[in-house]
Symmetry: D2
Subunit: 427 residues, 4 copies
Amino acid sequence: MSHQATLDDLVSLRRDLHRHPEPAWREFYTTARIVDELETRELDALYVGPEILDADERMAVPDDDELDEWFEKARAAGAREDILERLAGGFTGAVAVLERGEGPTIGLRVDIDALPITESEDEDHLPAAEGFRSENEGFMHACGHDAHATIGLGILDAVAASDFQGTFKVFFQPSEERVAGGKAVAEGGHLDDVDYLLALHVGLDHPTGEVVCGVDGFLAVSHFRADFTGAPAHAGAKPEEGNNANLAAAAAIQNLYGISRHSDGATRVNVGLMGGGTATNIVAEESYIEGEVRGATTELMEYMEGRAHTIIESAATMHDCDVEISVEGKAPSARSDDALRALVGDVSESVEGVDSILDSDELGGSEDATYLMQYVQDRGGLAAYVGVGTDHPGGHHTRTFDVDEATIRIAIDVLSGSIDRIAAEQP
Amino acid sequence: MSHQATLDDLVSLRRDLHRHPEPAWREFYTTARIVDELETRELDALYVGPEILDADERMAVPDDDELDEWFEKARAAGAREDILERLAGGFTGAVAVLERGEGPTIGLRVDIDALPITESEDEDHLPAAEGFRSENEGFMHACGHDAHATIGLGILDAVAASDFQGTFKVFFQPSEERVAGGKAVAEGGHLDDVDYLLALHVGLDHPTGEVVCGVDGFLAVSHFRADFTGAPAHAGAKPEEGNNANLAAAAAIQNLYGISRHSDGATRVNVGLMGGGTATNIVAEESYIEGEVRGATTELMEYMEGRAHTIIESAATMHDCDVEISVEGKAPSARSDDALRALVGDVSESVEGVDSILDSDELGGSEDATYLMQYVQDRGGLAAYVGVGTDHPGGHHTRTFDVDEATIRIAIDVLSGSIDRIAAEQP
Amino acid sequence: MSHQATLDDLVSLRRDLHRHPEPAWREFYTTARIVDELETRELDALYVGPEILDADERMAVPDDDELDEWFEKARAAGAREDILERLAGGFTGAVAVLERGEGPTIGLRVDIDALPITESEDEDHLPAAEGFRSENEGFMHACGHDAHATIGLGILDAVAASDFQGTFKVFFQPSEERVAGGKAVAEGGHLDDVDYLLALHVGLDHPTGEVVCGVDGFLAVSHFRADFTGAPAHAGAKPEEGNNANLAAAAAIQNLYGISRHSDGATRVNVGLMGGGTATNIVAEESYIEGEVRGATTELMEYMEGRAHTIIESAATMHDCDVEISVEGKAPSARSDDALRALVGDVSESVEGVDSILDSDELGGSEDATYLMQYVQDRGGLAAYVGVGTDHPGGHHTRTFDVDEATIRIAIDVLSGSIDRIAAEQP
Amino acid sequence: MSHQATLDDLVSLRRDLHRHPEPAWREFYTTARIVDELETRELDALYVGPEILDADERMAVPDDDELDEWFEKARAAGAREDILERLAGGFTGAVAVLERGEGPTIGLRVDIDALPITESEDEDHLPAAEGFRSENEGFMHACGHDAHATIGLGILDAVAASDFQGTFKVFFQPSEERVAGGKAVAEGGHLDDVDYLLALHVGLDHPTGEVVCGVDGFLAVSHFRADFTGAPAHAGAKPEEGNNANLAAAAAIQNLYGISRHSDGATRVNVGLMGGGTATNIVAEESYIEGEVRGATTELMEYMEGRAHTIIESAATMHDCDVEISVEGKAPSARSDDALRALVGDVSESVEGVDSILDSDELGGSEDATYLMQYVQDRGGLAAYVGVGTDHPGGHHTRTFDVDEATIRIAIDVLSGSIDRIAAEQP
């Protein structure tokens, strides 16, 4: 019989992952650790790295130097060499498959990447106090993906130990924080036969004991980067010979914020990052902006994206510059299906420790689980994004974020119970 | 009798300085090397570091970490420890004084700093071919200040060996490239009794053998840096809570370029550098711009500076941000006096190797020797900025710039001859 | 007994008003015609012009020349001289009061002004075909306020003829199209004792026979005008002496559209009008912009308004200009009360010609009836804004808009029935 | 023998022209009056209206309604019907030719149009006091072209009465104030054989008795108008359907002022006029800007013009608008030839009333006499622009401008003397 993790094992695993936070496409240690665990189970299939996704659809992949640096870091931290080799080139993530006879195919998606945030060293911060603070300085699991990966494994064990009938796949997806991995995984082939998909997130400002059966209100998002190239010139001697990349970027920024509001619903635009130039007395040859547009629906996001690209290109033309625009991340909107929402609520009723059940809540942000949800829904399947509350001292994406580990067991029970019930009822 | 450098000595010194290029306020090795030389001469006074300038008027002084790094680099390169100690805190530069009886006080100003440019490794580039390429990678004497310092020492020796009557002071001024040192040295006290001031520059697109008796057309300049501070916010969830520092900077850039032309003469404006923000999905809390304004006269520069500050402050207010503006460098305009121009021309006639003498030429750029010139002129003295041609393969401020070392002797003869003549004729 | 208009009378009245469309604060003929009608009824009170509003709260009042011109036009069209005299200074509108014993005080608000639109001359356009096209060229009842005033009179007659017990007030409000009259009327004193308020609008893209019991989704709005004053200068000879009012306006426009979206709901911004300058070769001394901000709630509108004023003032400061900002119109958001909504629906069930009843619909625009609704609601009363469908060939605010006159009778029945029922049930 | 005007006649003529100021291409009365005078002389040729210019090169021609209005005004003022007919369509201006045997062909250019300025009614303003104030309210000879036309006639008479040998042509050029007529006249054929060209201007801040032998410093200029067309939309209900013409214009304005300064010399840019939109709540469908660019040389003006057009087109594209750009006026730079300058100075020495002779002065503005000067110079001829001082109480282009009529005689003597001398000496 397959290995079965105890709760203590799972807490240890979560803390180990927490000590080794890795950002998008650099989850080498994380993937190796997960695969190492998975190999101790009796699985019907296990796909790793390039086997789980459509390589052409990966977004925001770092350059080789950057990938090498994190690869070496993972090796130094003790990641298994034979697994690491399968991840070369930033092909992180894994898909584990259980086949248990006749029945529907059910998918579970968990994400595994971390954030470029420096973790608190404060005594009140549990990971600091108990010795599992980030060892990759400047990076941190500040959104609970360490818990997500751990819960994913726990659910796999629970489903394996149940009388589940059907096929169960767990997707350990890389690169969610930049919404850069969801599309590649959605189009990687392993979702094609999935009838039901669940995704989960801990926290989201809900306390331990609260369950949100189906989260909605995902803002569709598109991240862009625009690199402007002009011509340098000495600003005192020959200013007219410059094609001013800083001025082109400034014109773009001013006008991007001026994209018209839309009567169909909420939209957003932000130029979060900008930079350019080399010296005060040189007309800037190069500049860049990085930003994002969002919409309450995919159509609204696409309206914003279309206008944004027109504006950026015109700003370049206006100042005799060239520009290259790249999409660095993207996610559609999506909705949780009511049938699954009801089922999850019903299951949650009898889970120990659950004391509040919300039918739905608005995310108000973006997530690329929506690519997977939409992929399944477009083929006639059902999907839901389940929120499992956790007491988190600091907010998401802050340096004092932490997960109440009691959540791990509750999440496993809610989700594995739901998966068993879906297989049984096929709603 | 005082030590007297041979031409070979001077070429060696220039090449040693060329190997150790140091940027503004970090000329530790350079100053130590010059002072070491000066101490072998019979001087009447030698002022070093804080003794030569008004500390309050230094602009663009780097932070302590940066200063320490270069201090250690100078120590490692063999700079004399006892001199280095006198330069702590970025107090570089020196003033050497000869007193030779009754007569006028004459000053000579040379600058000693280098540029943040990576020197060519090409075989055709003499310093690379002959082994005196920059050892401070990323920095380079690309404007001939290594030659200026060397020539300053040579002139001191020549005047000392002549029948000069009066007082002669050589100002080895730090931090010209950022026009950040001239004002502090001008107001350091040592110019108060100077009756005549000469400054010199090699090259300026004039070949070896050509002398420009008095350069004019200095654009007055002011370098500014503006740091915008707003409030961060999640661009998807709470965009209205952000005070957008990137947008404030963009509004400033757009409007700075729109400052009205002036009917009194040429003006310039450039935002050479910009940056801001932390992530695509965060409204930027901080941003900055660095730039410069210039004018054909000091008044025109001040018109531009006044308008620029108003625009920057309004752009901040407009987007509910704060802004701090700092002046990072500044230089007035100035004119060479005709009496000195004529005298230099006359002396040059009989200098061997001089085959072309121009009365004047336009610099078309900025220089903070103008602070020293103006200081002397405002007190009734005369000043001239002398150009000594040199064949330079690459342009000024390019990675293949180099000085024809034959210029060293010519410059010493032209300037020391002029100084002797000034003392004799007191024009 | 009081005069009672027949349906034919009402159609004639509507067509007469349609022939004399008058814009905000210039409804001289319209008011005189209404008052003339009212004086034939047995009213308990009739307030005219300055008696109905708080004069300090009028917005966007035209200058005297403009008022005089329309005053004369009304006189020439045959308006009663004695009534006209009471309207001098642009004090248009009236309030009619019926007192019928014990019972609640119920108000009905109708608006009476027209739009600056040139009416179609097309044969297919009924007013053109049947000879009641606008006689004030360039102005038109393109939003049905001619019908509103007529319906108001019809309801007054119907209530007077019923067994209504209580007090009934009809507010013939001027200057709705510019949202410039609602506030003044709301604060005019006559609402202080009103327990229930109904307002009505025909059309709104609903066909004849459809009733919307309580319209919601009023965008709060604020109209602004900003007048920039700089200094003129010859653009060739002395450009630097100009303080450029056109440039200030352009900076304001660019940045107004960039006000951040708000996570609490929909916002809007528009600079609909701009103008400035006198000649190509003169730096513009004067310029102006006129625009509006809106919000799904009053708070959101105020957020937009606050940001807009900061931006406009900073744009002026930025370019050394002065600016005067005036609020030219304003309306809060509001909601129809559910109790009235239900009652209106119930009454409509038995009105002949009503074949579709909608509980609510979104206006998606702005209306200053909201001032009156809010005034009543703030004092514990109830209010509803009732939509009465009408087949209108062209859209609202287009030159082919027209009202299906069958609507007049339906509207009178729905509203007078509701008023009787409110008095009886006091919900 | 030809009629010869006395000084009294000339003063009368000037005052008559002053009473009938007419703007560009509408100089119907003015041309008719001049032609009427010319027909009393013995001329060898007289060209009127379409015969003097290249019709395709006329700029800024008003529309037919506007032309008709002024045509009727001229008729009403008593202009000769037979001459008026030759001017139909805005073909104003005339060329008079004297042939006096062998000798060079010499041209004289005077301009005849007025400005859209309301003339002062002040008692101190001589034309008001003496009854020859403008009868075309809102228009005024505020730049002395009434005197120019008069002086042109006086010079013709003087040359005719002298022993001049050669051919002499006087160009009465329309539409200088908008720099819209010079090009058409330059290319009209009558300059092809001109060897020497003189142009003249009174005043220019020089007092009566001062002559400027050759004015220089003409800024080349190009006037543009850009009409933006977007799509209208209701700003509250459907803002996203608008293509915002006001926003496009604002983006254009902001960026036009940001065109880089040029190291070759002075440039200018101004958007003097702007307008757009129909209502605060409508996204503007149409807007326009009118402005100008200038340069110290024709090349600099063309640099500005090229950049301006790119910016305007990009601003339109940026906001999904179309734009049409038209050139409404244009003039190159030019220089007065030194040989003529010297000759005029020499002649002026002996002219009674001349007490100050300046070799040259800078205009600092624009003039389309430069088209004619350049046309002659390009074909090997010489040209000079002569300034004849006049005491003018108010500045040029102000409502109190007036000409000291003593200047008329001085100008005739200086110019006719110069023409005789040119013919004699052929410098």
